[in-house]
């Protein structure tokens, strides 16, 4: 897969639901279709909510990495509006 850009990134550790998704969504809205966004979220509730919301709104999670503190780095590919 050709990764067009990974300049977009946000660390949302410590940000609670649903603000973590709201912040993610605001960045995605400014991006072009197919661009990538890296989001770091806490384990637990954010893990159940953020990926689900991204999926429901037509974006694609292309990569999931677990970090040392058990938080999670998602790479989200901007979907079509």
């Amino acid at each position: 897969m050709k990764e067009t850009s990974t300049n977009n990134a946000i660390d949302l550790r410590g940000t609670l639901c649903p603000m973590n998704w709201v912040k993610t969504k605001l960045i995605l809205e400014e991006m072009e279709e197919g661009e990538l966004l890296e989001v770091i979220i806490d384990e637990g509730e954010p893990m159940r909510n953020v990926p689900r919301s991204a999926k429901n709104e037509g974006h694609k999670i292309v990569k999931v990495e677990t970090l040392e503190d058990n938080s999670c780095k998602l790479t989200i590919k901007r979907g079509v509006d």
């Binding site: 384990e43 893990m47 159940r48 990926p51 689900r52 429901n56 999670i61 292309v62 999670c72």
Partner: protein, 331 residues
Amino acid sequence: MVTGNEYNAPSEATKVALQKEAAKLKLDFNELKSGGFIKQVQKNLFVVRLRCPGGSLTPEKLRKAAEIAEKYGTGEVHLSIRQSLEIIGVHHNNFSSVVKELKEVGWSVASCGPRIRVPNACGGCTWNPNGLMDTIKLCNEIDRNYFGVPTGHHKFKINISGCAIDCPDSRDADLGFQGILEPVLVPDLCNACTLCVKACEEQALVMEGDLPVRDDSKCIYCGDCVKVCPMDAMVRGKSGWLVRVGGKHGKHPIYGYEVAKFISDEQALSLVPKTLEWYRGIAVGRERIGTTLNKHGLQKYIEEVVKPLSLEAIETNEERKKYFSEGNIYK
């Protein structure tokens, strides 16, 4: 000094006053209550409880309620604990006018007393993203078919939840329904991202090699893994209702017992009258079905109600355990 007797005096006096008032007006207060008119502390005034299955209302009904509250009540409305709108301070002379005006918008008062109450429900899958089943559809069907049916013993409450979060408290109802789904993995689509494993609060999923494997003895069928899967590799297998029976609030609360799973809307609609028939026949006096179950044992209900309807029964406390977290009464 206030003694115990003096402290109790006002409530006793109120009771006597109410009895006198009932006799004077030649009204049967219990009869009135069963129709959704509930006696207030204030002389001659009643709370009129309106029938709002699942708490759903239209703008037309809301306008009518406001109109009636201003015309016949004190102008106040109150949201009952079970999602119904109540008009406060209606004089008993105005009952027939209220009933007539409600009828204009196809509305009626709710039930009270020893009968099937207006069912409770959340938004279910209709607008709530957590919902797995159509709670509103089942709620309206139950209300349409069984609202107000006398039980012969005590009140009978039905609560319907769309998912395992269980906001409508299906555990606290005489009969509770909760939406569930069985996740099924399509291995070819899985990219081993592990999000499903991370999302599962029950630790029912573990990665074995490159694939998540589900332990059914832990899975509560909440559907979180299906919702989170970015590849649509974890998909909805069978879905339906988890059934709980015998829950109640009150001075001596009981958590409902899980008795069947993955039942359809049609099966749920047969379970209501079958359960009622069983309760009517076996309960003694004014007891809730939870008390009846505790006396006779849950297995009797399963043998006599769940199995004859060919439902997928939950028969052991071992299996029931997984639907609880802390405070599990089966521990």
